[in-house]
Subunit: 288 residues, 2 copies
Amino acid sequence: MLRFHSLRFSSSLFAPPLPLSPVSISITKPTRLTPRMASYSTSSSSSKLLFRQLFEKESSTYTYLLADASHPEKPALLIDPVDKTVDRDLSLIQQLGLKLVYAMNTHVHADHVTGTGLIKSKVPVVKSVISKASGATADLHVEQGDKVHFGDLFLEIRATPGHTAGCITYVTGDTPDQPQPRMAFAGDALLIRGCGRTDFQGGSSEQLYKSVHSQIFTLPKDTLLYPAHDYKGFTVSTVGEELQYNPRLTKDEETFKNIMANLSLSYSKMIDIAVPANMVCGIQSKTS
Amino acid sequence: MLRFHSLRFSSSLFAPPLPLSPVSISITKPTRLTPRMASYSTSSSSSKLLFRQLFEKESSTYTYLLADASHPEKPALLIDPVDKTVDRDLSLIQQLGLKLVYAMNTHVHADHVTGTGLIKSKVPVVKSVISKASGATADLHVEQGDKVHFGDLFLEIRATPGHTAGCITYVTGDTPDQPQPRMAFAGDALLIRGCGRTDFQGGSSEQLYKSVHSQIFTLPKDTLLYPAHDYKGFTVSTVGEELQYNPRLTKDEETFKNIMANLSLSYSKMIDIAVPANMVCGIQSKTS
């Protein structure tokens, strides 16, 4: 027991010290001397990375802002921006003094319109990024093993098809000068305790199973998993957690395929608008 | 330029290397040699703290899970749990192998029913925590300067009345063995680019102005600000950002009071259910 004068279930200053196990309920009053706890090493979480997770409520989509904050120009990128929240995102980027260089998508979304095209119309220097396998229009097409640099930081591309044929996962670098633990932006390939559907847009449950097991579950267990969506209010998971608790992807491949074949999901209400628009950076409706 | 063989706007492996400024658009292909960038110090973000931000969509409430993950018993606490998401939160806590010891509120909420009472009924060892000034029932009442310990980590209490008379902000410790940067869980006292209303529940715009300026804006600028709600999809801000960009609290006190007096907000639709329930840990409806 490292703490003196902690109080149990009482705010009285005159309660006698009680023997406490290390997790006992304790509140320390400021008028009492609190000796320093035994010291231990806690390294600083400071990093070059400025990171923000942003949420679009209607489609439950997460947009991610990453920047190299220690670089003189503070180059930044957005992953999976949504058309409806472009003004919010650009305003934040401006307030933080960042220079947006990339608007990237993990795949051609079926449930919302990407903000990429709108961002490019407002900030012409921004380049859109999507996988070559998606077949979608973009300034830059990436594929397995490519690296997207922003300042001294980078994301590597892992091909994770299965939800769509062109899905990719963006993963922070594995060198010591990159953020630790690593971060994986998996789009709809792997959701927190779930995964994206595989019944349209070139989806394949067999392919998704292989993608997640070979490209995501092989990352270090402490890798932070940031999905494109969450419908239950979770914001982040880890590879270790999903390896242990994902109700679909912890199963063997045949069971997984059976689960995915029997989800009985309704037709995506946005697909007929979103997919054609997202094939051209989300601006089809404005040009056609 | 530290990078060789980066490509500009092209995925062709045979494009000639172009001169790039450090923020130029560049994608590195895996088949090319990428020399190590000049090294710099990026310290690890490893910490004893396990942290999760959780969202309840209907009331746009954030619940925060904090635990000392390096302690043998992994003691954990929840800040501002919501009754509707108690099962989600307890399931996550169980999966992560944590021992929940506290269910804490920043104040008596008017827009949702706290999950505290429900949690206590399911996990009787859990102790509820709220401010003494709130007048609400709880196992532990805290006030300015108190510290709530969980394992080797702790939160200090700052009294930040104004939204309600009993509002408090929980702030991670300032000693080197505590998470860096510091984290402030401000409830409704300071929201991202906003603040809680001050027109009911003992609210006072004058008091709120003083609370934020004396108790939150005096924290280090890199302190991460985690609010009880966000309605625009932001998840976190910093004290420095709010000092610069909060549209209300950057104003002088008179202007702030005028803003708050003229918000013309509608009556809170949940207040008549939530406040009486939250005065008794959220379980009034089950016992009366």
